[in-house]
Symmetry: C2
Subunit: 252 residues, 2 copies
């Protein structure tokens, strides 16, 4: 092997949610590439080069990472959360498929991380305690018709849903369109959780219902969890409200 | 607050996939409860008590953990992977709902971890790079009819699927029943990955198709990934075969 390319998951934000394997992979890299906010989380050691880029440039970044690794360098591409969930790992394999020779002599490795839905779920209880799905609401890479179909089928299947990329400046209205579809299948009192910037100083987690969700704001730093018919709220002795989905469907 | 109860995710196995926050929560606990194979991963420090139990006793374990925490102890309940995915966090909230007073004065916290599907996906490439779902095939806690319905709808939605608990000694045949259902909806060449004991010394990851899957063995330590119609295999320059799902549906 000439070079190494590791696609590393840095987790949702705080350092104590980064696995030691991810920290090690970052520490050993000669060059680190990634979307600027993720690269900024790291402190370069002597001799290490950082290359930050925009989040619309994932395939270009993947191709550059392969080229650097093929030239014999030890390269890390960093993602927030887990690199395999709506993130850089798929972009790297797309680049390999597009130009297999570009990966000649490159040892590729993926280092998993804590993805946003797991952190959001942990903060509010255990909403992912039963069958669930993860859907990206971004229609940059797929049609809105596909998203609508998946939302409808996921509601019919009674999955808990983790909605990634629920809104951006360019498409602030799509999350409400998603709720409109879900309201046609799910009861209006279905629990919805808005988890913003989990693990950061400005973390904010709010619980509402499919009806109340219309009043909530969200952006690219928000993860939205939509409960199944079994997802419920429970108060612990200190009056704190939690959300969880029972492991069993026995009492439904 | 009198006591503390933290439900901790230890990740899929290796120590370098345990987050520092999880290691810290385990280190600070007076008492650690869990299913025996997870408790056995840990080394007790002086004064620390370990209580290992069977995996059928999750609600009893949750109730005991709450009682110990309510008596003023610092308690950790450990799960493999992430504690919120088919694991102990939901059992704790079930115990709280059943007897809210049992949680009086207890500060509850959930520490997320790397769940099995993320580790399995990382080993084989990026199969979870597009929308996906997670389904437990165990019918201890839900009806087989519910599982069948979800498999069918997930296939119609073209989700990648992570199948947890695909088989056990008591139900070796259910994974094949699941494949039978999926074969009625998905093409026979759909990619299927059997990922066993990922991160352990006896790790074994095999790639086959929905037809070839009939010949494969699996047990409770296996996670099965079923691709979507877009999931594909790609070879890197060293001849290694990877599996990934493109971020985009553009070329379908």
């Amino acid at each position: 092997m000439n070079g190494h390319l590791t696609i590393v998951g840095l987790g949702p934000g705080p350092e104590n949610w980064v696995t030691p394997a991810a920290t090690d992979a970052v520490g050993r890299a000669d060059i680190i590439l990634g979307y600027a906010p993720y690269v900024k989380r790291l402190t370069p050691r002597a001799g290490q080069v950082f290359e930050a880029s925009d989040n619309r440039e994932e395939l270009v970044r993947a191709e550059r990472a392969l080229a650097l690794a093929a030239s014999g360098r030890r390269v890390a591409v960093v993602s927030g959360g887990d690199p395999g969930v709506f993130a850089m790992a798929a972009a790297v394999y797309e680049a390999v498929e597009k130009n297999p020779a570009s990966a000649n002599g490159v040892e590729i490795r993926v280092e998993p991380g804590v993805t946003a839905m797991l952190a959001a779920a942990a903060r509010i209880g255990a909403p992912l305690g039963h069958d669930f799905c993860a859907i990206s609401l971004s229609d940059n890479l797929k049609s809105w018709a596909t998203i609508e179909k998946r939302l409808r089928l996921a509601a019919e299947a009674d999955f808990v849903m983790a909605l990634y990329n629920p809104a951006s400046k360019a498409r602030p209205q799509q999350i409400e369109q998603a709720f409109e579809i879900l309201r046609t299948v799910l009861p209006s009192e279905t629990i919805v959780v808005f988890a913003r910037a989990v693990g950061r100083a400005d973390e904010d987690v709010d619980v509402t219902t499919l009806i109340g969700a219309a009043e909530m704001a969200c952006d690219m730093r928000t993860l939205v969890l939509v409960g199944s018919r079994a997802t419920r709220s429970v108060q612990s002795g200190d009056g704190r409200a939690w959300v969880y989905t029972p492991r069993s469907e026995r009492d439904r």
